[in-house]
Symmetry: C2
Subunit: 232 residues, 2 copies
C-alpha cells in the first residue's frame, strides 16, 4: 500500500499497544493476559512476543509511547514560562500549570487515548511491580529536577523539603482525580462529566495551588500534635 506513508495504518504493533493500554486500565497488568490483548487487538497470540519480546517489554512500550511526549511537553511549557520571565523566578501557578496543566489536558483527550493513558499512569504510581517503578523513575529523571529547582526558586521562604512533600501531595491528588474516577463514586453518586473534559482541570488546579501555598504547620508550636489548631 502506498497511502500508509502519512498514517502507518492500524498495523499490528499499534493495535496491540491500544488494546493493551485499554485492558491494563480495566484489569491491571497481572490480570490482563496475552490472550485478552491479542483477542481484543484481533491479532495472533504470538505477535506480542514477536513484536515486543515479552509482556514486560510490552508494558514498557505502552508507557514509552506517550510518556516521553508528555514529559517533553511539560518541559517545553516550563521553558516557555522561564523565557518569558527573563531570569526572574516563576510564579507557583505557572509551575503547577506547566506540570499538571499539561497532564490534565492530555487526560482530557478522550479521542486519541490520552484519557486512557493518564488513568493508567496515575494508577501505576502505586504499582508495586518493581520493574515498572524503575522504568518510571528513568523516564522522569530529566523532568523532575527541573521542576524542583523552579519550585525552590519560586518559594524561597518554604523549606525545600516541604516543597518536595507538597509536590508529592499534588501528584497524588491529580493521579487519583484521574485514575480513581471509580473511587469518586464512593463519595459522589455521579461520574466525571465526560462531555466536559476541561471540568476536572478547572476544579483541580485551584485545589493544588491552595495546597501548595498553604501556611506551614505550626513549626513554632511543638506542644502536642493532637489536632492542628488553626491554619488560616
Amino acid at each position: 500500500m502506498a497511502l500508509q506513508d502519512a498514517k502507518p495504518a492500524p498495523d499490528t504493533r499499534s493495535r496491540i499497544l491500544d488494546a493493551a493500554e485499554a485492558l491494563f486500565v480495566e484489569h491491571g497488568f497481572e490480570a490482563t493476559s496475552m490472550r485478552m490483548i491479542t483477542g481484543r487487538a484481533g491479532v495472533n497470540l504470538a505477535s506480542v512476543n514477536y513484536h515486543f519480546g515479552s509482556k514486560e517489554a510490552l508494558i514498557q512500550d505502552v508507557f514509552r509511547r506517550r510518556l516521553t511526549w508528555l514529559n517533553e511537553a511539560r518541559l517545553t511549557a516550563l521553558e516557555q514560562f522561564e523565557r518569558a520571565a527573563k531570569g526572574a523566578p516563576l510564579k507557583p501557578h505557572q509551575i503547577v500549570e506547566a506540570f499538571f496543566g499539561v497532564s490534565l489536558r492530555m487526560a482530557a483527550d478522550t479521542e486519541h487515548g490520552g484519557h486512557t493513558f493518564m488513568r493508567l499512569l496515575g494508577r501505576t504510581y502505586t504499582e508495586p511491580s518493581s520493574f515498572v517503578r524503575q522504568f518510571l523513575a528513568d523516564e522522569y529523571a530529566a523532568v523532575v529536577p527541573r521542576f524542583k529547582q523552579a519550585l525552590f526558586r519560586s518559594l524561597p521562604d518554604v523549606p525545600p523539603e516541604e516543597i518536595l512533600w507538597r509536590f508529592h501531595f499534588m501528584l497524588g491528588a491529580m493521579s487519583y482525580a484521574i485514575a480513581g474516577n471509580d473511587a469518586l463514586q464512593l463519595v459522589a453518586e455521579y461520574k466525571l462529566d465526560e462531555k466536559d473534559p476541561g471540568a476536572l482541570a478547572r476544579r483541580l488546579m485551584p485545589f493544588l495551588l491552595g495546597g501548595l501555598r498553604a501556611p506551614l504547620a505550626g513549626q513554632a508550636v511543638k506542644s502536642k500534635e493532637k489536632t492542628p489548631r488553626k491554619a488560616a
Copy 2:
C-alpha cells in the same frame, strides 16, 4: 500450651491474614499467590481455602479486619466534635481531622500493622478489580454521607458539588502520601522518615486544608479553554 490465653496465640487464621496483608502491599492481589501467602505464614497451602473459602474471601477479610474499626473511629471522632459544637456547624479543620487525622494516625502505627494496612487501602482505591471496589463501597456507605453532610454545613458558601470534588482530591492526596511512598522517590531521594511517623500528618494536614479552602476557580471566565491563562 497454657500461656496463650491472653494473646490468642498466632493462630493459623491471623497468621494468614498478616502474611496476606504484607504480600498484597508488596506485590498486589493478582501477583500474590496462595503459595506465597501460606509459605510466609508457615501454614499449609489448603488452610486458606479451609479458613476463608477462597482467595477473594481472604482479600475481603484482610480489609474487614481493620477497615470496620477505622470507619468506626472516624465516626466517633466526628461525633465527638459535633457533641462539643452543640449543633453549630463544625470547622473544616475539625472534619478533616476526624476523617484524615484518624487515618494518618493508623498509618503511623508501624508496629501493629496499621501502616501496612493503610498502604494497602490507599492502593486499593485505584484497584480495577470490581469485587474489591464493591466491597469498599459497602464498607464506606455508613461513613461518607455523614462527612458529606458535615462538610456541606461547614462550608455553606461552597457549592456542594465542589465540596465533593475537593473531598475526593483530599482522599487522593492522602492515599498517595501513604501508599505511594515509593513514588515519592521519583521526586525526592529520601524516604519517609520511619522514625517519626507523625511527620506525615504534620505535613499533609495543612496541605489538605489549604486545598479544601482554596478560592473557587474563576467561574465567570468561560472564553476559551485551550490554556488556562492565569489562575491567581
